[in-house]
Subunit: 231 residues, 3 copies
């Protein structure tokens, strides 16, 4: 595994010794899962970023920051973890990433201890590999993408930025997935299939043919339609 | 992980040193799997409970007990393991549990060594977590429920008593499942879905909407009908 | 786990110390995955077998052999790894195995380090168990079969020779699969089902009834038709 940028490397190693303080962006279910992944590696949060009116699933008495408090001059003090999940469109999560990157912040890349990541896989900044997920030989995963629990990203996959490969999804060998695409829980994508950008693949779908950009595909076998289209 | 009752705690730890002798209730495929999970933790059975006429898949020359032999005065001598599996209705397994609990017996809670159970998950008496299963952050699993091999119980799930989450099933975050419900092999339940009591979710089903009590739901997406109903 | 023939035993143990040199047959995606599984166990390839005109995904500057170079007198010098994958019909992979066995060669049996293989499972020569796969209690897997990443072969399964249990497939307890059969990615086979020889089970299919020899079965639930048949 190699990495890009400040947040690169496995969470377990460098962070315990290094100076930057960790802030979780978001405080919902995904944020709480990431908090526990970090705790398993002996890493504690210094706080979280969320609006005052939102409730928090995070554990412990953590300092809350408003978005507006995270000004560029703090970008060397705090390293961010993108705790915004997605259950369909991945745009909210992508926006958080883009906004704070524009202010000079970096995002932690993390792998759960029970994940299996090939030594030849290449993971970019902010990628999150959750429990028991598998990222296999020569796979590449671009920035800010989630490979969620139990998902399988097989050999020679190319996964774009800002994707969510949801829980238990199975991507066979040599699949490519464009940026901003959501692959639903326990979906299956056959060997060599190419899926475009900003697509939504339904939970449990079986994708047997290529899917163009901006399409939604559901069913067994999956049938693709333009998102928002009349067709 | 915390636990309830006598059978609580991981099988590996206390039992090797403690006095109660283990009896497997049942002697079929599920019982044999549990026998091996125990063996991996260095724990041997003292016998099993089954009718004289039934055949046994258990390994070794084990003493057989009739149900009638397990009288209340033996409840401190023997700790039970519920080896009755279920492939649909979970009633036989639930009956065994209720009957022996009423006589004062306790049931072992066990986790296979390859299972991944969050430190914040709460497991009750008699819960069985099999190989490579994942029980995630802040999940709760009530008594006598099986989380079978490779199943994923995501963060903040609430799983009732006497359920069977079958092999490879995927329950996304914040799902709730009522008591006595069977989730079929490799089924998928979407984020936040609520499934009632005594339901049967078919193998490979994709549950996208809440399911009321006493319903069966099959297909992609799953369509629910009352169990035994004309509809 | 027990094993049959020269190539038996786990890859990690004996091979580091033993004399036979390893040759990979094939140089595509599956071969590259196996190369990495071997590397994780500290085992390097001595070369690979492929036609001069084919491109290679293997890593490193490896010596290439033509098929014709592997004459019977080299059968004690080289141990083979079947790097030919299959995405549907498993005949090409079976042919490679049969041809070199007829010349006196043996094939390595291997298990990825993250695989979970029961102590009571019986694996034959040339079986390949990939990352995070589970082969459970009292299961038997015959020669040259692939249990691919994340697949679950439950207790008391009987899997024939030359099968491919593809990525993420779920075979419940007491399933039998005849020789030469392909079980598609993330497919589900219910408890006790019997699938014949030379069948193809589609990706994501849910097999709820027995499947005769030479049938293809797809869908949820799976519908079986003779391969090449008019029906």
């Amino acid at each position: 595994m190699t990495s890009a940028g400040f947040g690169g490397g496995s969470a377990a190693g460098e962070l315990r010794e290094s100076s930057p303080k960790l802030l979780m962006v978001g405080a919902g279910g995904h944020a709480r899962v990431l908090q526990e992944v970090l705790a398993e590696a002996g890493i504690a949060l210094s706080g979280y970023v969320a609006p005052a009116e939102s409730s928090s699933l995070l554990e412990g008495d953590l300092r809350r920051f408003d978005d507006a408090e995270l000004t560029s001059d703090l970008a060397q003090t705090y390293l961010l973890v993108n705790g915004v999940g997605s259950a369909g469109a991945t745009t909210a999560r992508a926006s958080v990433y883009a906004k704070f990157k524009a202010s000079g912040f970096s995002f932690l890349q993390l792998e759960a201890q029970s994940a299996v990541v090939s030594a030849s896989a290449v993971l970019s900044e902010g990628v999150q590999i959750l429990h028991r997920a598998l990222v296999h030989t020569d796979a590449m995963v671009d920035e800010n993408t989630i490979i969620n629990s139990g998902a399988i990203v097989e050999h020679h996959n190319r996964i774009g930025a800002n994707c969510h490969i949801a829980v238990g999804a199975v991507l066979c060998g040599q699949v490519s997935v464009g940026r901003g695409t959501h692959i639903g829980a326990n979906a299956t994508v056959l060997q060599g299939i190419q899926i475009g950008e900003n697509c939504i693949i339904g939970a449990g779908a079986v994708v047997t043919r290529d899917v163009p950009d901006n399409h939604v595909a559901v069913g067994v076998p999956a049938v693709a339609k333009p998102i928002g289209g009349a067709q």
